[in-house]
């Protein structure tokens, strides 16, 4: 048989198969279910409001707050410097570079922590790192930073210290706590997670 005919007999049916079947556009998950479960169980994705408040006051350039609520809610109220990526648009091409990077520390937040945590789980399964969740969301932010409750008089010193810290942060960030000098306590515990490098796509050159 002529090699050209033989080639045609093999490759044309394969070509027909490729042309007829819809393209495979599924994005493979990089983490297995047990790997993700262990991360969820360790709760490493949560960052406390105090750490975020501290970074905001210090104007830490690595912090990037991402509001995953709808655009209307975002326009009504958002944290300082936050950008809006509604949860429904999370997988949109235009946000891929924001979510998959190794320069900034992305922190998702929503009203509670559910939607933000969902955003984190999806991006984590795609293998993205450096994404975190604001613990308790905006509700807890309001409780702890903007309107902290004075601990009862029998509370430990630690409780009072945390209260002062929160109140100071709340004042700096426009809360309604009373004015009191807390400068000397502003050095909060450094719980800020380290930014992990992203494995870059490899490149290969060809030629004849």
């Amino acid at each position: 048989m002529n090699p050209r005919v033989l080639l045609a007999l093999i490759i044309i049916p394969l070509g027909l198969v490729i042309a007829a079947v819809p393209q495979n556009k599924t994005v493979p998950y990089k983490l297995t279910a047990p790997e993700l479960l262990s991360e969820v169980a360790e709760r490493t994705q949560f960052v406390s409001p105090e750490v975020i408040a501290d970074m905001l006051i210090k104007k830490d350039p690595t912090l990037r707050l991402i509001d995953v609520r709808s655009q209307q809610e975002f326009e009504k109220y958002s944290l300082p410097g936050a950008i809006n990526i509604p949860l429904t648009d999370l997988l949109s091409e235009e946000y891929a570079d924001i979510l998959n990077q190794d320069v900034k520390m992305n922190v998702f937040y929503s009203n509670g922590s559910l939607a933000a945590n969902e955003a984190w789980m999806i991006t984590r399964q795609l293998g993205y790192t450096n994404n975190y969740v604001l613990e308790g969301g905006l509700n807890y932010w309001y409780e702890t930073i903007l309107n902290p409750q004075k601990p009862s008089s029998v509370s430990s010193d630690e409780e009072f210290l945390r209260y002062d810290l929160r109140k100071g942060a709340g004042m700096a960030l426009g809360g309604d706590a009373e004015v009191k000098d807390t400068q000397d306590q502003a050095a909060g515990p450094s719980l800020k997670p380290a930014i992990k490098p992203v494995a870059k796509k490899k490149k290969a050159a060809g030629g004849c």
Binding site: R4, I18, N24, V27, K201, K203
Partner: protein
């Protein structure tokens, strides 16, 4: 699953080792199909031997079909496969220089090494020329940079530009390649050359 190295299934060094094995296979096939003869390679321009066209188009459609089928089965993530970025000006200028060198020297870079390894002197001269060209380009990069980087178009795909699916474009390309092979064989009969 794939690409293996990008998904860290194999290490960078294992990847290079595979590249080494594939390179040996590539060189072997080039030599076995007569690609170490500059007359055979130049034949495609004069119409007496179309084997270059046939081999490279067969390679292209085989690789394309394989990649698309692998993607269909979920064996490879095509979004992680590197596509050469398109710089329109340098693609055209480079194509002309490469084509000119091809007719003049009777080799392309890969086949010149193939020829040199079996002792062809013209291939060795070609390689010397290749290195001189590389050195000149590197030394004069500041001069060429504007031209080299001009008209950047990202990494486009013809199928996207024509608004059709990758699979359908692949089928068209397969049919076009087979038609081209048929025409090539007619041309070979029309411009025969006995000894070369």
């Amino acid at each position: 699953m794939g690409p293996l190295a990008v998904n860290e299934i194999i290490s960078e060094n294992t990847n290079l080792f595979f590249a080494f094995l594939i390179g040996i296979g590539f060189g072997y096939v080039l030599e076995a199909s007569g690609f170490s003869s500059s007359r055979k390679l130049a034949g495609v321009f004069y119409g007496y031997d179309m084997v270059v066209l046939k081999v490279f188009f067969t390679a292209a459609i085989t690789a394309m079909t394989g990649l698309l089928l692998f993607s269909l089965f979920g064996w490879i993530d095509l979004s992680l496969v590197y596509i050469n970025p398109l710089y329109v000006t340098s693609a055209i200028v480079g194509g002309i220089i490469m084509g000119g060198g091809f007719i003049l020297g009777g080799y392309c870079p890969g086949t010149s090494f193939c020829g040199a390894s079996i002792g062809k002197i013209d291939a060795m001269v070609f390689i010397a020329g290749l290195f001189i060209g590389v050195a000149l380009f590197a030394a004069g990069f500041n001069w060429f940079e504007g031209l080299y980087m001009a008209a950047f178009r990202g990494d486009p795909k013809i199928s996207t530009a024509l608004k059709m699916s990758d699979g359908f474009f692949a089928l068209l390309l397969i049919l076009a390649a087979l038609a081209m092979f048929w025409v090539a064989e007619i041309v070979e009969k029309k411009f025969p050359r006995e000894e070369y």
